[in-house]
Symmetry: C2
C-alpha cells in the first residue's frame, strides 16, 4: 500500500513506522509539491492546508486522508465527499498544550507576571501589586469538546467554578453548569474569564457580539485560543476601549500573521501571541499514535479514531 | 478582654469581629508603636515582626499572640517561652496563593511567556518558539507541608510526577515519592523543576549546595518561594553561569529588598519577583477566620488551630 506523507516527521518516527508496518510503502516528502509518488497514494498524511479539489481528482487511488492537525477548514470537502474518501484528524492531541497555555494566560492575569517582568527590568522592588487568585473565580468556556473539557478540569483543580457553552446545552463532565449557544449572555455574565476554543464554522463566525461584552464583568478577561473570526476585531477593540472588559488574551486573529502596526500589538489591555497555544514537542509523536491506530484499522479492520463527518466539517 | 491589633484590617472586618464578639474590647492600631492600650493587651494580633523581648516583658497580661502570617523568625521566642504565652499563626492561608504563583512560574517557563511578551513588544510574529508542556515532567518539592502539598496537588492535575523532600522521609499525600533531607541529591536528580518552600531554620540555611545543582538536570528550573538563605547567592549564581541548571525563579533573597545593581536583577536566566508569592486579596479575611476560631476556643474552650511549638520555632 502506498502511504504518502506531505511533511517529514523526525527520522526516528519514520523508521519506527516502517518497522511496525513492514509490508507498506511509506514515502515522506517535505511538502506536497515535491511528492513524486502522490498520484499513487492510497493513504495521504498531511497537515491539511495543501490539498485542492484538483489534487483530489488526480489522486485516483486515494481512500483515506489523515490530517495531522485539528483544523480542516482549508480542505476541499465537497470533492472529498463526492469520492467518499475517509478523513480522520488528530483531534484530541491539542488538548494538553492548549489547556496548559490557557491556564498560563489565566495565572499571568491574576499574578500580573507581565507587570512583575517590567518591574524587574527597571530593578524595582514593589510588593504593593494587588495580586489575585484563580481560586473562587469563575471561567466560562465556549466549546465543551476535548480542549474545553481539559481547561475545565484544570480550572476545577484550581477551585474555580466552570461554566460551559455548547450547541445543545447537554451536560459535560468538569462543568458546573452548561448553557446553549443561544444563552451566551447568561453564560458570560458572572465569569471572571471567558475562554473560547470554538472552531470556525458558519455558526461561530461573529458569534460574540457587542451585547455579550456588555454583559461581561468589567473586570473580566477574554481569552481566545480558538479562531479569530469568533468576534469582529472592531467589536473587540471597542469593548476593550470602552472598558467593558479588563483584558484580552489573543492567540488567534482574523488575519494571521497579525499584520504589522495592527492596533492589537501595542494595546496595553491586549496580549498577542502568534497562534502558538497548541505548539508542543509532543505534537507529531501524538499525531502518529492516532495514525498508527487508524492504519491498523485500515489494514485489519476495527474502529477508526477521529473520523471527520465531511458533511458537517468536524 | 482586651484584644489589641497592631495592624488595621479593613473596616468591614473590624465591624464583623466586634459584632461576633460583643463582650470583648477590640483596639485596632496602624502599628505597634501607636498602640496606646498595648500594656493592657491579653490578646495581641500582629504580623509578627514588631515584637521585642522588652515588649513581651511590658505586656504583663499577655496570654496569647496571634501572628497573622506564617513566619515567626523575627519573634523573641525565648521571652515568649519563659512566660508560657500561647502563639498561633496563620499557617495554611498561604498555600493557595503560593501554589498558584509556583504553577504560574512553571507555566511561564514551559510556555516561554516572557519571550512571547518580548516578541509582542517588537510586533514580531514567530511561531517557531519550541514550547513545552508540564504534562509528563517531574517536580521535586523541598518541604511537604501545606504549601508543598498544594503545589504537588496542582502538579498532579497537570499530569506531572511529584517528588517530595522532608525531614523524616514520611509519606505525604500528593507525592509519588519522598526523600529525606539527607537524600537531596537523589531527590533533585530527575526533576525538571526544583521548588523550595522551606522556612529558614538552622537546618535549612545553606542546605542547597553546589553538589546539588551539579546533580540537577541542565534543563531544570529552580524555583524558590521559601526563604533566600536556603542557598548562598554565590553558589546559585555559579550554578546558573556554569549552566548546571537552565533558569532560576526567585521570589525570596538573602537580603530583601534585593539591592540595586544586584547581579540577579538583569541576569537573563534569573527571574526576580519581590517576595510576593503569598500576596492575595484573600489574605486578611482568611487569617481572621483562623483568629475567630481560636478566639472562640480561648473564650469557650476547644482545640486551637495552628499552635506554634515555641521551642521548635514552627
Amino acid at each position: 500500500m502506498n502511504i504518502v506523507f506531505t511533511f517529514r516527521p523526525p527520522r526516528d518516527i519514520q523508521a519506527d513506522l516502517q518497522k511496525k508496518f513492514p509490508n507498506e510503502t511509506f514515502s515522506f516528502y517535505k511538502q506536497l509539491d515535491e511528492a513524486q509518488s502522490l498520484l499513487e497514494a492510497e493513504i495521504l498524511v498531511t497537515f491539511g492546508s495543501d490539498l485542492t479539489e484538483e489534487r483530489i481528482h488526480e489522486c485516483e487511488s486515494l481512500k483515506w486522508i489523515m490530517v495531522a492537525s485539528a483544523g480542516i477548514e482549508e480542505m476541499p470537502l465537497q470533492a472529498i465527499r463526492d469520492r467518499d474518501i475517509l478523513v480522520t484528524n488528530a483531534r484530541g492531541i491539542h488538548k494538553i498544550p492548549m489547556a496548559e497555555f490557557t491556564l498560563g494566560f489565566m495565572l499571568n492575569h491574576v499574578k500580573r507576571f507581565a507587570e512583575l517582568h517590567t518591574l524587574e527590568q527597571s530593578e524595582t522592588w514593589n510588593k504593593e501589586l494587588p495580586l489575585q487568585e484563580l481560586a473562587g473565580k469563575e471561567v466560562a468556556i465556549l466549546g465543551t469538546g476535548a480542549i474545553g473539557q481539559e481547561i475545565a478540569r484544570l480550572a476545577k483543580a484550581f477551585q474555580m467554578a466552570t461554566t460551559g457553552v455548547n450547541k445543545s446545552g447537554r451536560h459535560v463532565e468538569e462543568f458546573d453548569q452548561i448553557f446553549t449557544i443561544h444563552e451566551l449572555d447568561s453564560a458570560v455574565r458572572g465569569a471572571d474569564f471567558i475562554v473560547s476554543v470554538l472552531p470556525s464554522t458558519p455558526e461561530t463566525i461573529n458569534l460574540l457580539q457587542q451585547e455579550h461584552f456588555e454583559a461581561m464583568k468589567n473586570t473580566a478577561a477574554f481569552i481566545n485560543i480558538g479562531r479569530g473570526d469568533l468576534v469582529s476585531e472592531l467589536v473587540l477593540l471597542s469593548a476593550i476601549n470602552d472598558e467593558e472588559i479588563a483584558h484580552a488574551y489573543l492567540d488567534v486573529f482574523t488575519v494571521e500573521p497579525l499584520p504589522e502596526a495592527h492596533p492589537f500589538w501595542r494595546h496595553p489591555a491586549i496580549t498577542v501571541t502568534p497562534h502558538i497555544s497548541s505548539v508542543t514537542k509532543q505534537y507529531v509523536p501524538r499525531a502518529m499514535e492516532i495514525f498508527e491506530h487508524n492504519l491498523r484499522c485500515f489494514i485489519d479492520g476495527g474502529d477508526y479514531a477521529n473520523v471527520i463527518d465531511v458533511t458537517k466539517g468536524y
